[in-house]
Symmetry: C2
Subunit: 182 residues, 2 copies
Amino acid sequence: MPDDRFSNVAYVILGFLGKEDAEPLSGYDIKQWVDSSVRFFFAASYGQIYPELKKLQRSGLIEGHKESTGERARTEYEITDAGRELLREWLLQDGARLEMRDEGLLRTFFAGTLTREEQITKLRAMRDERSAQLAELHDVAEYSHGLIPDMPQLVLDYGLGLHEHMISWCDRAIRELEGRKD
Amino acid sequence: MPDDRFSNVAYVILGFLGKEDAEPLSGYDIKQWVDSSVRFFFAASYGQIYPELKKLQRSGLIEGHKESTGERARTEYEITDAGRELLREWLLQDGARLEMRDEGLLRTFFAGTLTREEQITKLRAMRDERSAQLAELHDVAEYSHGLIPDMPQLVLDYGLGLHEHMISWCDRAIRELEGRKD
DNA sequence: CCTCGCATGTAACACGTTACATGATTCA
DNA sequence: TGAATCATGTAACGTGTTACATGCGAGG
């Protein structure tokens, strides 16, 4: 067994391939799934996905089949028993990292030297961005309503609530600053 | 002027040095400030801070003074007018990136193959971690109450609300799963 | 015919963390 | 005396994004 350590992206792959009902997926498919579901709290690029697929295959955790029958060239992957086992191990691990990098908040934090006007403008922009994101998430949630199982549904609800919270904070902060407008 | 592009860490440094009342700060000081204020939505390590201080100085945006009078060797930095200008520019920029990487949520999302019991255990662990973080934040907020100006205070409130939201989501999710316990 | 989406990949770069090295001062 | 904190740094590593290259197939 070469190189025994896997990135979170590897577990995302195993996660999608390891769902109860899961069909075989290509690297491209996986990217689509990531972008339309976990994207708001976990991103993954092709630059990570394709190399990781190779690595997982080399380690016998997934199996690839060339599916080039008439259609476009395409390699579909399925999870193996060893893969399921590793996925399960990962799911049960404790100590999960939570990282956030919020440039908007960072700017807000240091915005004391701006004028009230400028501060309010910035907060409104932040609010609008979040609203746009919320709308997108709503689409995803609506579209997949009933199609996806319990846990993913709960996690989508989490995302909706989170964005709503951010928006209402912006609103409160704006009102607060407007009230103090001297 | 060599290399004209600065990382977010550079702006954090300028931010702390550029506050109205700001005293000169060492690299060590800045790390302390980061860890005790913006840490929950933006981290920075010594490995980023020290090189960035050098770079900012080379570009004339901050000025360092060796403060080795009797005490430990220590270099304190102050912001220059050019630095203030760049900081202001950055504060007014739009298009702020928001990145999140939440391993716990990721695991939850894929937890469909675990038993109800296991799922609930995981959620409880997540809840506890968040509670601990919330407590830490409360300490910071309490400690700095009145000491820090408007904007930072608002941002701290944001953090408190965010963590409370996460916790109540965990609670709801747990109740939900317990209700379905078949 | 041309554009869009499907499909696979890689190389260069940017970003960040960790571990390590070093040494002074303070306080119990 | 020994541990903790102040203080400054760097090298190695790991992770993640971007830009690019390539080509097929479907539909307007």
